[in-house]
Symmetry: C2
Subunit: 202 residues, 2 copies
C-alpha cells in the first residue's frame, strides 16, 4: 500500500492528503515528528535529502516534494483531467503550481509559520508577498471556476491549502470574493477532506 | 514568430533563452526595462499579472513564469525527452523544478540580487538556504550525469542558471565537484548559449 510520510499541520502534506482523498486512493499515514527533528534523521534523509515532508512511497517509487507528488499521483492514478498534457493547458497548470511555490509558500505559508509555529521569518514581508499572490489569484478567478484548463487540476490542489489557511497568518480573505467562491468550490469536490486550521468558509 | 519578453540579467529569463537555443527554435527578443519599471505598466501586466519577465507569446498562447514556459516549450517543440510523461520520471523532473523554485530562487538568486542589484533581502539567510540546495544537488549528481530520468530534461535547464551564477551571490562552487562537472556537461550541450555573469567553468 502507498505510504505517506506526513505531519498533520503541514499545508504541503495536506495537498497530498487532499489529492489522495479526491482520487479515492488508499494509503497509510506514516507520521514524522517534526518537533522532535525526526525529519532530519538519517532514516528520513535517505527518503528525502531535503529533510522535509511529505514523501510518498509507492512500490519502488519514492517521491518527495508536494508538487512532484501531485504530478506523480495525477499521472499514475488520475484520469488525465487533473494534469492535461497539451502544451497550453499543461503550461497553465504549471503557472499556478509556480505561484503555489512562490507567493503562496514564501508569502502565505511563511506568515502562518511565524504566527502559528513561532518561526523567525519577516512577518510583514511575508504577508505582503502572500497578498500579492492572493490579488493575482482573485483577479484570475473573476470569470473562471478553476485555475487552469477550465476544470479542476492539480493547480487547484496545490494552491488551495495555503490560501485557505491564510487567516492563520493574519491575512484576510474577506476582500477576495472570487477566491472565497473558489474555496467553496474546492470544498464541494467529491471526496474533499479538510485540515485543522481551515476556517468554515460555508 | 515567438516573442520572448526578456531582460538580459534575469536568470529566469535566461532559462528560457537557453532552452530555446537548445531546441533550435527561433524567436524575437522583446526587451522589458525593469529599472524603468516597464514590467509594472498596464501593457505588461496584461501579459503577466505578476508583473515579471519572462513571458512567452506563441500565436494565441501567452505563457508567464519560467517553469511554465519550459513545460510549454518541451511539450510544443521538444521531442519528448525533455519532459518524460511516465509517472516516476515525470515526478523526478518535477522534484528538481521545485528545488529550482525554492532553494535556488529564494536562496541563490536572492543572494545574487542583494550583491548585484542591491535588493534588500537577508543576505546571510539567502546564502544559507541556497547552500542547502547546492548540497542536495551535488550529492544527487555524485553518480549521475543529469538531474532526472537519466537524460537532459527541463529540470537541468531550470536549475542550471542560478547554480552557475551562485558566485555572483558570493557562494562558492569550488567545494561541489559533482555540480562543477554537471555545469560543464550542460555547457557542452549542442546549441548551448551562456549569459553575462556565468564564470568560465572550463
Amino acid at each position: 500500500m502507498i505510504k505517506l510520510y506526513d505531519s498533520p499541520l503541514s499545508g504541503n502534506a495536506y495537498k497530498v492528503r487532499l489529492f489522495l482523498a479526491l482520487l479515492d486512493v488508499e494509503y497509510q499515514k506514516m507520521p514524522v515528528d517534526l518537533r522532535a527533528g525526526d525529519n532530519r534523521k538519517a532514516e528520513h534523509l535517505a527518503r528525502n535529502p531535503r529533510g522535509q515532508i511529505p514523501v510518498l512511497e509507492d512500490g519502488e517509487a519514492i517521491v518527495w516534494d508536494s508538487q512532484a507528488i501531485l504530478v506523480y499521483l495525477a499521472r499514475r492514478y488520475g484520469d488525465g483531467a487533473w494534469l492535461p498534457l497539451d502544451p497550453a493547458p499543461m503550461a497553465e497548470v504549471a503557472q499556478w503550481l509556480a505561484v503555489s511555490e512562490n507567493e503562496l509558500l514564501f508569502g502565505l505559508a511563511r506568515a502562518r509559520a511565524v504566527k502559528k509555529f513561532g518561526r523567525e521569518f519577516d512577518l510583514k514581508a511575508s504577508q505582503e508577498y502572500g497578498k500579492s499572490g492572493l490579488k493575482v489569484l482573485d483577479a484570475h478567478l473573476k470569470n473562471r471556476q478553476w485555475l487552469a484548463a477550465g476544470q479542476p487540476t492539480i493547480a487547484d490542489i496545490a494552491c488551495y491549502p495555503y490560501v485557505a489557511l491564510a487567516p492563520e497568518g493574519e491575512i484576510t480573505l474577506a476582500n477576495r470574493p472570487n477566491l472565497l467562491r473558489w474555496i467553496r468550490r474546492v470544498q464541494s469536490l467529491p471526496g474533499y477532506v479538510g485540515m485543522e486550521g481551515i476556517a468554515d468558509y460555508g
